[in-house]
Symmetry: C2
Subunit: 189 residues, 2 copies
């Protein structure tokens, strides 16, 4: 057997999501996922630490993307300008063209307490990483914390709205709408 | 033995926080907590479902407080006005005068992965409840979601800042500062 199967990772992801949807996350085993993908269990473990990681591995490069974006941004851009420019770019790069897959993932995560807590944990960790990246730019701690929380909230809210739709509106446009709603809300005192 | 011990709940909370701090959350048992408080294990279980609940029980009435506040608020107040008026009131009512205890709790939760995830879970549930309360006032779903997330973010950020301080500044004042920072940030595009 070849040590490297072309497209193995994607086939495993696809097989896992199918099986989680059909028979539930808890009742699905790694050998079943590997068999559905036409691969071996060993190949599965070359790509993922466990079946849970199939659902979360896609987010692993987000902190690096964010850090790279902030490192090359003009020094005089304000935190909110950075978010307004960066979030639609991230949306397109990370999620566009993957809505069906993300909808399936969303349904699986929503049905399992442990997966929901893992999701919240990943979101909190991402917020921490964004906060640190803003502080590294010289932004004060309070503004860095709030900016990071706003960025994660806007992206998460937009993703949820996008996944609930059935038309072909781009996620980036929904992100822009959410940012506008946030600005209107926050300035209204 | 009397079925009802006066101040039992507070004594159990105090004993639990002391023991969690001294020997760690994982290594502390319910019988140890009861013994330190001079009470029986049965009395413990009349007040808390398990040792974890000692750390989270204080938040159980928050959703009810929020719902009550929103139900009696003037119909023409905007979501952000409601937050700006309500959060300092909640801060005083829920947390003032309890900083030492909350600092101990904060340290315990920070050291245990399971407790941190439970904390995130409670925060997400609270945000959901606030969102529902705003929708019940007739606020649109997107604004309700963002308002709820902002409220929880502002309170959590303010609490974290307050617990890190060593002076006697009131939490309500820190909440007001955080709200000002948020408004400045969100309007700066």
């Amino acid at each position: 057997m070849a040590r490297w199967e072309p497209g193995a990772r994607e086939r495993l992801e696809q097989a896992a999501l199918e099986l989680f949807g059909e028979q539930g996350f808890a009742d699905t085993t790694v050998p079943q996922i590997a068999a559905r993908a036409g691969l071996t269990t060993r190949t599965f473990f070359r790509h993922f630490a466990d079946k849970r990681e199939v659902l979360f591995a896609g987010e692993d490069d987000v902190p690096q993307l964010v850090a790279g974006y902030l490192a090359q941004a003009p020094a005089d851009e304000t935190p909110m300008q950075l978010i307004a420019r960066g979030l639609p770019v991230m949306a397109t790069r990370l999620f566009d063209g993957r809505r069906d897959q993300l909808q399936n993932r969303h349904r699986v995560v929503a049905q399992d307490d442990g997966l929901r807590e893992r999701d919240l944990h990943k979101r909190a960790a991402l917020s921490d990483q964004i906060r640190a990246a803003f502080q590294a730019r010289g932004v004060d701690p309070l503004t860095s914390t709030l900016t990071a929380e706003l960025a994660v909230t806007v992206m998460h809210t937009s993703l949820t709205r996008w996944l609930a739709r059935n038309d072909d509106r781009a996620l980036a446009d929904i992100v822009t709408d959410t940012l506008t709603a946030l600005r209107t809300l926050a300035s209204d005192v």
